[in-house]
């Protein structure tokens, strides 16, 4: 049976997001910001998109995703020092290490859901964070892993130097485009549909005959891989890897970004959230100390009154406008 609504491979929203990000280096300094902020936003937008695979699409509240991001960051650095100082090798190491970490966690928690899932992921996040702090020989402890280099990207005969922030930005953008495209396809693949069905009703999905455990484990591993990739890029961007990003705080920040942006109702919500998070950090942070106070308060207000986030607000505004434009509508056209 043909699906009721085919999902296009490329959407206008996708192109608009990519084009906006592509134009950022042209104007970001003119509005008083700086190129490195753009790199940070892109990396965390990628991370939040990957995270939303678990929270928004599978309905599994992971509060320990910082572990995968951090494992990716450390793996990038360690691969550079111990295996080969080659960008592709290091990024592959970041993805691979995060995949192993994700699989390990998935093994223990994939039969869980809801709050227990959240609590168990907090525990795992703390385990990884604790190891990162204590294993001085491997990770440098609280001082972190320093002197990670921004390796040049070799493509056949041409070599792109990524030392400048603008060059790094465009490299990260290429990865971001690839990752967001991949995620869009995963979400709308038959696999993604099953994951969505599990979110809606796990018991029913099991009775239909799907091996729910495998799907939940797979979605976590995919999300962990891409979070690790983002982590690897982040360690390259800041030329070091620290245990901070694995702490409960940072794991919570990505939840906040995803929710504030509207990851529960929109594919691009996490991207909006990452932008809002970093703009709030830099703009509110410039005016007052304690920017998290204000961001946290707005997060609390959103959770209470509009958990669908910024994208949700936009959607209901658009709906209201559509209703105002055409006041006489058949009642069942609003069912969506």
């Amino acid at each position: 049976m043909a699906p009721a609504r085919t999902i296009p491979t490329i959407t206008w929203a996708m192109i608009v997001v990519w084009l906006i990000f592509a134009s950022v280096p042209l104007w970001i300094e003119k509005v008083g910001l700086y190129h490195y902020l753009g790199v940070e936003i892109l990396i965390f937008a990628m991370y939040a998109l990957a995270y939303n695979l678990v929270l928004g699409h599978a309905g599994l509240p992971s509060f320990g995703h910082g572990a995968f991001f951090g494992v990716g960051a450390y793996a990038f650095g360690l691969a550079q020092f111990n295996i080969a100082a080659n960008l592709w090798v290091c990024l592959a190491a970041a993805v691979g290490a995060a995949a192993v970490a994700g699989a390990l966690v998935a093994l223990f928690i994939s039969h869980r859901r809801g709050i227990y899932y959240a609590l168990m992921t907090i525990a795992f996040g703390q385990i990884f964070w604790f190891i990162a702090i204590k294993a001085h020989g491997l990770t440098g402890g609280e001082d972190g892993l320093l002197k990670i280099e921004r390796l040049p990207a070799t493509l056949g005969v041409t070599v792109f130097d990524l030392k400048s922030n603008v060059a790094l930005y465009y490299f990260v953008l290429v990865v971001f485009v690839a990752v967001s495209f991949l995620l869009w396809r995963i979400v709308h693949s038959p696999f993604g549909r099953v994951v969505k069905a599990i979110k809606q009703n796990e018991t029913r999905a099991r009775f239909v005959g799907y091996d729910v455990w495998r799907f939940k484990a797979a979605i976590l591993v995919i999300s962990a891989c891409l979070s690790g990739l983002a982590g690897g890029l982040f360690s390259m961007a800041q030329a070091s890897a620290f245990p901070d990003v694995m702490s409960l705080h940072y794991s919570g920040y990505v939840v906040m970004m995803t929710l504030v942006g509207g990851g529960l109702v929109s594919f691009w919500g996490p991207v909006i959230g990452a932008v809002a998070f970093f703009l709030a950090r830099d703009i509110i942070g410039a005016v007052t100390t304690g920017w998290m106070l204000w961001f946290g308060l707005s997060f609390v207000v959103l959770v209470l009154f509009k958990p669908e986030g910024i994208a949700g607000i936009y959607q209901s505004l658009a709906q209201r406008r559509a209703k105002a434009a055409a006041p006489v509508v058949a009642p069942n056209s609003q069912a969506r």
Partner: protein, 309 residues
């Protein structure tokens, strides 16, 4: 034989630590067990208690200087006693506000309560940074209960044992309130079947406020007691909330004795493992959790609960 004797101090310290862990988990357990709400802001209320205690003990209060001089002249033991009593009372309004906010999430996906309290935890932590700054503080301990004593040729910290004693007192108070009073019976019945309890004419909303306030005050009380041992810093809340939920998951949700025994187990495991690898001793509690939860999904004494949705 000698190895067992050598382990004895670690075991005793572990038991003391375990009682303290149970104390930290107590308020969290109350709110989760009786209201089916996860309060991730528990740690921040714990931290607030510690900071208020510091303000009282070190006489750093927003009061006229001559009043402060009078207060600072009071012997430390009385200031400390005042902190133990007053800090939880000062933190209680925060619990009231939090309960008001959480009311909107009752009956919805429990995830929203979790997200809300996480947001509140971030806000309180940042508030602490704005008010008190980022440096570490030490809570001064009165001479009567500080220092050490010698037993079995070993030096023991007096405060640690005094604190463990206070943990037992707090647990006893909570046990009596929950298990031996009309209030406790009504709240427990409400957690079991809220419709019937409301049909009997009991105002469950009001009862829940009191449960939440009690849980908040327990968090703050634990914060005061732990402050001299852990030091006072803005992120001490996270250091407290993680063991708290860990103990609850380990002991089993909704079980008073589960929380108490879970805390003791964690304390003993941390205490004993610190005999072999002190650097890594905190990791042992996570491994214990994984071990228990892998084989007993509901924890040691758990009943079916909201956590399983």
């Amino acid at each position: 034989m000698t190895s067992i004797v050598n382990l004895l101090p670690h075991l005793l310290n572990g038991i003391a630590l375990g009682l303290l862990f149970s104390l930290i988990a107590l308020g969290f357990m109350l709110i989760l067990g009786l209201m089916e709400q996860i309060n991730l802001a528990h740690g921040s209320l714990f931290a607030l208690g510690a900071y208020f205690a510091y303000a009282l003990c070190a006489a750093r209060l927003p009061l006229p200087p001559d009043w402060l001089a009078v207060w600072a002249a009071v012997p430390l033991i009385w200031r400390f006693a005042a902190a133990v009593v007053l800090a939880p009372i000062l933190v209680a309004p925060f619990g009231l506000i939090l309960e008001r906010l959480m009311r909107r999430t009752y009956g919805r996906d429990p995830l929203y309560g979790l997200l809300l309290t996480f947001g509140v935890a971030m806000v309180i932590e940042e508030l602490i940074r704005v008010v008190w700054g980022t440096p570490d503080y030490m809570l001064p301990v009165p001479q009567e209960i500080s220092g050490g004593f010698i037993m079995l040729d070993l030096i023991w910290s007096t405060y640690r044992f005094w604190a463990a004693g206070m943990a037992i007192v707090a647990m006893a108070v909570v046990w009596v309130i929950v298990e031996r009073t009309r209030f406790g019976a009504m709240v427990k019945a409400g957690a079991h079947d809220s419709e019937i309890v409301q049909a009997l004419g009991i105002d469950l909303t009001k009862l829940r406020v009191w449960v939440f306030v009690l849980g908040t005050m327990m968090a703050a009380f634990a914060g005061v007691i732990m402050a001299p041992l852990w030091g006072i810093r803005p992120h001490m809340g996270v250091d407290a909330v993680v063991p708290a939920f860990l103990i609850i998951v380990l002991g089993g949700v909704g079980s008073f004795w589960g929380a108490a025994i879970g805390g003791l187990l964690v304390g003993m495991v941390v205490g004993l493992s610190s005999a072999y690898a002190s650097e890594w001793s905190m990791l042992s509690m996570y491994l214990l959790l994984l071990l228990v939860v892998t084989f007993r999904a509901r924890g040691l004494f758990g009943k079916k609960s909201v956590l399983e949705v």
